[in-house]
Symmetry: C2
């Protein structure tokens, strides 16, 4: 258990690290940001920074020396970086979680191994395996690289007539996974935390809408049956416990439009994010404890905070030019605006978000 | 009107500057802290810092060059510092406000000039004036230095029998003000903001309890009549408008236990704080917009945010050793803990605060 004044090392310097650092500072924790980028959003709000490549062992060693615990804002931390640091200081969540979530195939097998549904999938090592996968899963289906995809990058929707060899080459010949196309009625996520002592707390289930493969809005609570919400939280808990997880994680799921069985809407796990998550940003304005504070509490070995909501929360991302609407948003009664301090607006770039919290009927 | 990415210069590096800097960062504003102290709480969360004396004109000139607007976390900014900066960049609130609030006698005359009640007072330039003041105001009364007192420092309670010449010398012979002792039933404060365009917004009235002259707890809303609350807000507004104020201010008032007139509890203004205020800390967890964000919005020339409360908020300061109770507070359901990152615990030092927000009956 850390004491106030301790330093949390954070790998990555984007908006998630920025909001983590501020949440830590509320609690008297210092943040030390490690990032290869020289002009990172998190640098404006941290006690210390290291600008170096993730492969720079001298820089990593000095960083480990300077901090009390290490965490990260993104799942693509190189495995060797995580192992190098873990040999020197606690890394939370543990590096095995990275191995699990960096590879879509490994992640799917892990989830299915817990008895939790995923989309159907097939291992696609080459064009021949892709043909066998399509024969098994049918079309439409989605070919994804096993590693390093996000926000729709590194994936191709396979519809009728597409040439499989061409499609496989379009992803660079990298090892892939083919996933069956899920006809869902809703996308939801569970943002939850697990402490060093195994304490588990989930926020109310979030309902997400994506546009162009990027999260557009999150509404909490999700408009789903109470039994479905309870089951979603149980799924997140089972995953967190099986991974011996410490910190905040998000589990994205689909709610299927053809319910099977009399009681529950059917849930299919889509993805695990081993970090604070965009669909949890509403907690900054809509919950007693933000997901960022919750994560810092967990990695510090502290008790988790209350996940109580203040009302119904709708979070909208400000993507690219959306951020130019800041004047109107500042003037909108009750809108909570967050801007990430990014100097350059680029299409598809997450520039900020806005949360609107309205009182709920009791 | 500043644009996101602009830099707010803040004079002072304590916990108020720390919380201002974090609130600015939420909105995409950078903070540049100017402080003579080398190890300040705000340094952990700011984009830039200057460690220099307030009289160092070269440092002040460079600071003015680096920022877009200047504000401050404390009222005892030297007048020459404020004027030097105001000649180069906008200083908000304007430096005349400092002149007004740095001198208790000037402040009292200003408030009375607006037709607002204060305690009775007398100008005490020497021991003879003190004798005349006591003859006029009676005992008990309170002798205070006109300048530089806070948290009960620089004041002496005059009770029966005290030797007036000795008492005057005990305050170093500095120019003083004698104030009649107010028998109050409650201490309240109005935390409010005024924008560059004159927009005015007040949070609900706070009820404060002091211990050993230091704020111990703030409860919002105050347990006073609605008419009294409305009048308190009007008083704060009149003061803000007369001072052409921009930013957050707090007006501390007494509610008298011998009500005069049939309608209102009687209010007496005790002090004006030209800055974010300890009695507004509950807004971080209990209101849509925190007082810190509200101040940053105002000094940036932006519209003010919603002052809506999430519930009934009780803020308790963590003074000195209180901060050692952090483990219990972290484990208390619903308690929102804030620690200011001060490395050394000292008696009477404000180390942090905790806010408990509970839902209200509609």
């Amino acid at each position: 258990m850390l004491t106030p004044g301790a330093t949390i090392g954070i790998l990555g310097g984007g908006q998630l690290a920025r909001m983590l650092a501020m949440a830590g500072a509320r609690l008297g924790l210092k943040s030390h940001i490690f990032s290869p980028g020289a002009n990172e959003p998190a640098f404006d709000v941290c006690a210390a920074r290291t600008v170096a490549r993730y492969e720079d062992e001298a820089a990593l060693a000095a960083f480990a020396e300077a901090v009390d615990v290490v965490t990260y804002e993104f799942e693509n931390v190189p495995a060797r970086t995580a192992e190098f640091l873990a040999a020197r200081k606690p890394v939370r969540p543990n590096p095995r979680v990275l191995a699990l979530t960096q590879d879509r195939l490994v992640e799917k097998r892990f989830v299915q191994g817990l008895g939790i549904d995923t989309a159907g999938f097939a291992d696609v090592a080459d064009a021949g395996a892709l043909a066998r996968g399509v024969a098994k899963l049918g079309r439409p289906s989605i070919l994804k690289t096993r590693r390093l995809g996000y926000d729709g990058k590194g994936q191709i929707l396979l519809q009728g007539g597409a040439d499989l060899a061409v499609t496989f080459r379009a992803l660079g010949g990298a090892p892939c996974i083919l996933e069956s196309f899920v006809h869902f009625s809703k996308e939801i996520s569970v943002v939850a935390a697990r402490g060093v002592d195994g304490e588990f707390r989930a926020y109310d289930v979030c309902e997400n809408v994506h546009e162009h493969h990027i999260l557009a809005t999150t509404t909490t609570p999700a408009n789903i049956r109470p039994e479905t919400a309870a089951r979603a939280a149980l799924i997140a808990r089972a995953i967190a416990e099986a991974a011996d997880y410490v910190g905040v994680l998000a589990v994205e799921m689909f709610v299927l439009d053809h319910a099977v069985g009399p009681i529950w809407e059917r849930l299919v796990v889509n993805e695990i994010a081993p970090r604070v998550h965009n669909s949890g940003h509403w907690t900054l304005d809509g919950a007693t404890t933000s997901q960022f504070e919750q994560h810092m509490r967990a990695v510090a070995g502290w008790p988790l905070g209350s996940t109580r909501r203040h009302g119904r929360a709708v979070m909208s991302n400000l993507i690219g030019d959306d951020a130019n609407g800041w004047r109107e948003l500042l003037g909108e009664e009750g809108a909570c605006l967050h801007l990430y301090g990014k100097s350059e607006v680029r299409p598809g770039r997450k520039m900020g978000h806005v949360t609107r919290v309205t009182p709920e009927e009791p």
